[in-house]
């Protein structure tokens, strides 16, 4: 089912609105105790606090839950505990330093933030990235998608109580990270995708290493299937839990696996292609019921699709330059600096003053493992962005929590948070 031939009732469908009004607990962060005191003993509901220091809240997510016995009535995600003002920081960093900042937002999928930032900068500069750089970016992003989804498998298993899954998911992810380390020099926060291309060419032997990984992974994923997918306890915990439908998702601005779990095929890679995704063959994985199990299965199968894409990238990787040869943006090659005074000055100027970007505003978006990750950038013609905003998919997706939790048990709330796969670094920025 494609997006085009689906008619979806839009946004303010009355049912959505009614559910919305009753699911979200709209009280202040400190009001829980006061409300309870006012209600007295006749009221059977209580407001319970979950997090921010709670192992299953994936970092520092805090939830205020209005409980009726074990049942969650209304709830409110309270965020901001990891807010470090990264968008303000971005206004003091040059365009070349920018990726070091945004890469720390979604720390499980750092390359996607770097890519969105770089694409926005390149759009303002009017730069066309050479084909090899585009394909290297795609290679890195799919590797990163695999590592991010493997992390989800690990934490999701752990949250549900399949603790051994944590070890397996982590083990597989570490192998993907090792490959990223071989290529970029760092396990995380790579600062590898930069305006104009990528930081370095692929190292010798990269093909063999990628092949080793994508040869080994499918068998491991089958083991995940054996361990989790067919297991009755696991299915009981996830099936029919945290159900959401397409209309609700679209009204809430939800993207990524949560939207796809409702049976709605929307993936920027296919529907609004960027990089060279129109030249590779892959399927958009969708669910049926919009429950936690569908979201688990989608992420597992997206790893398989990424492996398919990686195999095609291995075949189609073009030769050529890994960054644009534009003297304004690209520092001179290291060898030239030893021979030429001008090259040394050029190198120094680019890294101290940066390069000027024409005034304008632009929005660039990529499909991150969590949904649409956008970068809105305003330039005033200087070497630092006038304003840089990241549209984080987790930030928006968190709004589904009250709707999915309503009427469920507290134990289900844990499964639901896990299935949203929020990364708080990107939520709070």
């Amino acid at each position: 089912m494609s997006a085009a031939d689906t008619t979806v009732e839009v946004a303010t469908d009355e049912a959505v609105r009614r559910r919305d009004d009753s699911a979200v607990l709209r009280i202040g962060e400190d009001d829980g105790e006061r409300l309870e005191a006012e209600a007295g003993t006749s009221d059977t509901s209580m407001v319970m606090n979950m997090g921010p220091q709670h192992p299953s809240t994936h970092g520092v997510l805090r939830l205020m839950l209005e409980m009726e016995g074990e049942t969650v009535m209304r709830s409110k995600p309270v965020i901001g505990y990891l807010h470090t003002g990264m968008e303000k920081t971005a206004e003091t960093l040059t365009y070349l330093q920018g990726p070091t900042n945004v890469t720390r937002m979604d720390y499980a999928a750092p390359l996607f933030s770097e890519l969105a930032f770089s694409m926005a900068t390149e759009a303002l500069l009017g730069l066309e990235v050479p084909p090899r750089a585009t394909w290297i970016r795609m290679l890195m992003c799919e590797l990163n998608r695999i590592s991010s989804h493997l992390l989800f498998q690990a934490t999701n298993g752990m949250d549900i109580g399949a603790v051994s899954m944590m070890i397996y998911g982590w083990r597989e992810r570490e192998e993907a990270l090792r490959l990223l380390e071989t290529i970029t020099g760092l396990r995380m926060n790579h600062n590898f995708i930069r305006p104009g291309g990528v930081a370095a060419d692929l190292p010798d032997g990269w093909r063999d290493e990628v092949l080793t990984l994508i040869d080994a992974l499918p068998a491991r994923l089958n083991e995940f299937d054996t361990l989790l997918t067919g297991q009755p306890i696991y299915r009981e915990r996830l099936q029919g839990v945290g159900v959401i439908n397409t209309a609700e998702c679209l009204a809430l601005g939800v993207t990524g696996p949560i939207l796809r779990s409702t049976g709605y095929a929307w993936d920027l890679r296919r529907d609004m292609p960027y990089l060279a995704y129109d030249q590779v063959d892959f399927d958009v994985v969708v669910g049926t019921y919009g429950d936690c199990f569908d979201r688990y299965a989608i992420r597992l199968n997206e790893i398989r699709e990424s492996i398919r894409i990686l195999a095609q990238i291995l075949h189609q990787m073009p030769s050529g330059d890994y960054r644009v040869q534009d003297k304004k943006v690209t520092p001179p090659p290291r060898a030239r600096i030893d021979e030429s005074m001008e090259a040394l000055i050029h190198h120094f100027k680019i890294f101290t003053e940066g390069f000027k970007v024409p005034a304008g505003e632009v929005y660039a978006a990529v499909e991150s493992p969590r949904g649409e990750l956008g970068c809105y950038m305003v330039s005033d013609g200087s070497a630092v962005p006038y304003r840089m905003h990241i549209r984080g998919p987790s930030f928006v997706n968190l709004q589904t929590l009250p709707h999915m939790m309503q009427g469920g048990m507290v134990a289900d709330a844990v499964a639901i948070i896990s299935s949203v796969d929020p990364i708080m670094g990107e939520v709070d920025r």
Binding site: A11, D20, R26, G253, Y376, Q399
Partner: protein, 144 residues
């Protein structure tokens, strides 16, 4: 693929968004703002638009004819209010709270106008250009 950009006034804002929703724009992807206080000179505005200090930027997406539309709304410093989009797209709730928190723009009719990223007792709006970096004493309650 470039996004289309629309400049709308605050009076026509809700109406325009409602029109876009009827035209198949299924989601509001992003609501953000820019403080143009220190911008050296804005050249990308059409002649009929009066530049103001704040600009509200709303990005919508259409899936049937894949494409995004960006609305740019000028919001003056002395009356930083805009009508909320919550009634049209409930997903703008958190995004508008963030803009209100970071820029001090008030969304009229918003169901939960509390701070979202900063502590509830924080003073000021950090992404305003006159909010200095690193010169503010820490305001957490426990340190007082």
């Amino acid at each position: 693929m470039t996004d289309s950009v629309l400049h709308v006034s605050r009076d026509q804002f809700t109406e325009t968004v409602a029109g876009l929703r009827d035209d198949g724009y299924v989601s509001v992807l992003d609501v953000t703002a820019v403080d143009y206080l220190e911008h050296p000179g804005r050249t990308d505005l059409p002649a009929e638009v009066t530049p103001e200090r704040f600009e509200l930027v709303v990005t919508l997406i259409s899936h049937t004819a894949p494409g995004r539309t960006r609305l740019r709304v000028q919001v003056p410093d002395d009356d930083p209010t805009v009508p909320t989009l919550f009634d049209l797209y409930p997903g703008t709730e958190a995004l508008e709270r963030e803009v209100a928190d970071m820029f001090g723009i008030v969304f009229e009719g918003h169901p939960d106008p509390s701070r979202i990223l900063m502590p509830p007792d924080w003073e000021g709006h950090p992404l305003r250009k006159d909010f200095a970096v690193g010169q503010i004493p820490v305001q957490f309650k426990a340190t007082r």
